[in-house]
């Protein structure tokens, strides 16, 4: 366990505020005594779980993974690896949001039904183990997005200390880097269902197609943020904008398209001209308007 004096000093310009927030987080965790964390292996929940172990100790920390068809296998592997490396106790639960027709129909509030399933299973498990405080990795940046899943968290009494204390995604990456958590530079990794336009049913087959397609893209050496959006027979690939010059060149574009067709069975492949942007299907559905200048990536 660590105290404030043991926490890393700011790692670079602009990180002083993040270090101060981290001290507040340590106080917040100590006041709870023990916590259970909804753990995905992503940047935010990994930071939170590792900090909980450092502040409270492993005996007072439980990271719970909800495994389902919409959870990428690569993310699961990352979660297990990082938990093992940093001594985070993990419990895995199977969740089955796809069996809920309200989720499978893929409405714009789909995340609410997923999180209801997740927290509905996770919270009772935590309480049965004597852990009253259940937390998630929602951060302050998330509060400005369309996040119907947050309502399900609130209904189950789940707290979001990173958002509460004002941690931005950049703060979390900064502090993760300072502590040597390998997820500091990991791309954001929302569930696979986020690649399917609202109103198109979420099925196991479509989720596996998306997962195989994204693995095929990464196998070409493309790193960082990317998404393969599912439009029926068409796969629309969003790459980081700085990669578009290279990957729109005819020879490489055909290489990319062939890899996706062969790996995932899409008949047609297209490259998005604007490139990767978080929440792009919310724009497609008119849930949010991205003509307003973005404040984050």
């Amino acid at each position: 366990m660590i105290g404030h004096a043991d926490l890393d000093e700011p790692g670079g310009a602009g990180s002083t505020g993040a270090a101060a927030r981290e001290a507040q987080l340590a106080d917040w965790l100590r006041a709870r005594g023990a916590v259970a964390i909804g753990f995905s292996g992503g940047v935010d929940s990994t930071y939170l779980a590792c900090m909980a172990v450092r502040v409270l100790g492993a005996d007072a920390t439980l990271a719970i993974i909800g495994r389902s068809a919409s959870y990428p296998a690569s993310q699961w592997a990352t979660a297990r690896e990082v938990a093992s490396r940093f001594g985070v106790p993990v419990l895995e639960l199977d969740t089955d949001e796809l069996s809920d027709p309200r989720y499978a129909a893929n409405p714009s509030n789909r995340c609410y039904f997923c999180k209801s399933e997740l927290w509905g299973k996770l919270v009772p498990v935590a309480r049965a183990r004597g852990i009253e405080t259940v937390i998630d990795g929602t951060n302050a940046d998330d509060l400005g997005d369309w996040r119907p899943g947050a309502r399900a968290a609130a209904e189950h009494g789940v707290l979001s200390p990173l958002a509460l204390l004002g941690f931005t995604k950049a703060d979390i990456r900064d502090r993760s880097r300072a502590h040597g958590f390998p997820t500091w530079s990991q791309p954001s990794s929302p569930c696979l269902s986020s690649r399917i336009p609202y109103g198109t049913a979420v099925t196991v087959e479509r989720l596996r197609q998306i997962e195989r397609a994204e693995q095929a893209v990464r196998s070409l050496g493309i790193e960082g943020d990317l998404r393969v959006r599912h439009h029926g027979e068409l796969a629309r690939v969003e790459l980081a904008p700085e990669l578009l010059d290279a990957w729109l060149a005819p020879e490489r574009a055909r290489l990319l398209a062939r890899a996706i067709r062969e790996a995932a069975g899409f008949a047609r492949v297209a490259i998005d001209l604007r490139g990767f942007r978080s929440g792009a299907l919310n724009v497609l559905a008119g849930v949010v308007d991205d003509t307003v200048p973005a404040t984050r990536g």
């Binding site: 578009l244 729109l248 297209a270 490259i271 998005d272 497609l284």
Partner: protein, 64 residues
């Protein structure tokens, strides 16, 4: 939302291709690939044109 008027608008800025509407996605098609999309500025011109013609998203299909 009109694929034909978008096609004409793109042609006027030097991007020659067919435009296939795919919901709110404008899908550009031209073997071996649309010309005039080789810089970020030109691509943003295409994005802007797509928006002006009612599409939220624009992508180029990779043929062949």
């Amino acid at each position: 939302m009109s694929a034909e008027t978008l096609r004409q608008a793109l042609k006027e800025i030097g991007i020659r291709c067919e435009v296939e509407p795919h919901g709110a996605v404008a899908l550009l098609r031209a073997p071996p690939g649309p010309e005039g999309l080789d810089t970020p500025e030109r691509r943003m011109d295409a994005v802007k044109a797509a928006r002006e013609h009612g599409f939220t998203t624009i992508a180029v299909e990779i043929l062949g």
